[in-house]
Amino acid sequence: MVEASPKLSVRDLTVRYGDKTALDAVSLDVLTNEILGIIGPANSGKTSFLRALNRMEEFDPNMTVQGDIFFEGQNITAIRNVYALRRKVGVVFPLPVGLPMSVYDNVAFAPRLAGIRKRAELDVIVERCLTRAALWDEVKDRLDALGSLLSGGQQQRLTIARALSQNPELLLLDEFSIAVDPVTTMRIEDVLKELKHEITIVLVTNLVQQARRLADRTAFFLQSELVEIAETEELFTGTVQDQRTRDYVEGRFG
């Protein structure tokens, strides 16, 4: 593996909801063009970690974030133009969200926000993003159908296409396969393997084997803390130091 610079450096990140701590002083780096897997049982702080990366505390008055997150060296907590940050970061959540507009408009949403108006230009982006999300063949004949009426698996791929339409440098995926059938999951996983040549990906997953299949490195979160982070194979083949990680990946709890 090429020596990579960190795309994202997280230092002492603490996330609270009210007085409940969801993430406690986590520090880790995400390297450029890697897939970083994050595994851990429910309520271990995985989702809170992702939410903080896109400054989503601004959506939830109950959520407070402390610590520093450096995006290519720039502290994102100090960025005034949070919209520019969010354009560089694509987000995909467990439950697919097809916006109640046409498939085409769903994918053209972010490009239009970025000021692209020409139909021909948008056509190219829409086709490219839907193709990369492995959805183009299924919807190319009904681009004007409502995105919110596609099946769950299709909506999730639409969500991924939408996340890609903003040309993100960082893609955050939170248990994207929960509402998706196994065949589609495998197709999306293939897509992610392709994408990592251009995009840095953080993949939160409750499927330990999914992290093993996809991630270059994997972090294990437990009870709001980062237990450890290592090359995926090391984490899974037992050269790890921490007994709790071994218990989790071998399915003894969680």
């Binding site: 989503m56 959506f59 008055p61 969010r86 959540f93 916006l99 109640p100």
Partner: protein, 291 residues
């Protein structure tokens, strides 16, 4: 005995089920009875008064003959001006409260104030309108003063119904937009408003109905018992259907029996026609957008 035979507990549950269903059905029927009675009495007794002349002529002979044209046009003026004043303010306030306002004591106080404003009796609004718009702002007794009074009175309806229809748009849609770098306003304009427009229209319908029917707030602020001519602008006084009904029903001697019923029938029909148009528009919008 079959394994699906009814146990005594099943029998009991069945009986309760039947009882509840029948009881609630009767309540629903009870609800329809007054509406049906009102409509049938109005049609039965008011229909003889109706004619094209009734709608197109001014009242004559001390309001015991002629038509109701001046009152009809006056009510359209008042409702239109009231809508122009209250819908933009109400929708803007609802959007702010639903999409921007932080959840703090000030927001909660505003919400409480809106609920209380909805509970203020219309006669109190009338006196407020008299003091504020007629006297203080110097609009005199006019369509403008009457409409603004009605606008203040119906604002809570618009705000509450608009806010509720905004809240009915799933929060996940907003987060999806924000995560793509959309501002709050871009999200509101492209996703939230298009998907709540039918609910917002419902509030406007309610407002139209109430505005057209209110009597007390306008009789102090701009509606006249009798005027032989049409208003030429918003600073003129005008006749109005609701006040006209009150006057011919109680204040004028020797009114033909059918006349007040005819006025009431036209007033109700106006409201129903407006409601029907808005409902048709809502259905059209709802069929276009789904999730």
């Amino acid at each position: 005995m079959s394994m699906f035979a009814r146990t005594p507990l099943d029998q009991h549950n069945r009986r309760i089920e039947w009882l509840v269903k029948t009881l609630f059905l009767m309540m629903t029927v009870l609800l329809i009875i007054p509406v049906a009675l009102i409509m049938s009495i109005l049609i039965y007794r008011g229909a003889p008064a109706l004619s094209l002349e009734f709608l197109t002529q001014v009242p004559t002979n001390g309001m015991t003959a002629g038509g109701i044209m001046t009152a009809l046009v006056g009510t359209i003026w008042i409702v239109t001006v009231a809508l122009i004043a209250s819908v933009p303010i109400g929708v803007a306030a609802a959007v702010y409260l639903s999409e921007y306002a932080p959840d703090n004591w000030l927001t909660r106080a505003i919400n409480l104030a809106i609920i209380n404003l909805a509970g203020v009796p219309s006669i109190v609004h009338a006196l407020f309108g008299l003091g504020a718009f007629v006297v203080f702002f110097g609009f005199g007794r006019s369509i403008l003063a009457a409409s603004l009074t009605l606008a203040v009175m119906t604002l809570p309806v618009v705000i509450v119904s608009t806010r509720e229809s905004l809240q009915a748009v799933p929060h996940a849609f907003r987060e999806a937009c924000w995560n793509m770098g959309a501002t709050r306003w871009q999200t509101i304009w492209r996703v939230v408003l298009p998907n709540s427009i039918s609910g917002i229209l419902t509030g406007v319908i309610l407002e139209v109905s109430r505005t057209a029917g209110e009597t007390a707030p306008i009789m102090f602020t701009g509606a006249a018992a009798f005027l032989p001519f049409l208003p030429q602008g918003v600073l003129d006084q005008t006749m109005a259907m609701s006040l006209h009904l009150y006057v011919v029903a109680t204040q004028v001697p020797n009114v033909p029996e059918a006349l007040p019923f005819g006025v009431a029938l036209v007033l109700i029909s106006m409201v129903l026609v407006m409601n029907a148009m808005s409902i048709a528009f809502r259905v059209y919008l709802r069929n276009k957008r789904k999730w």
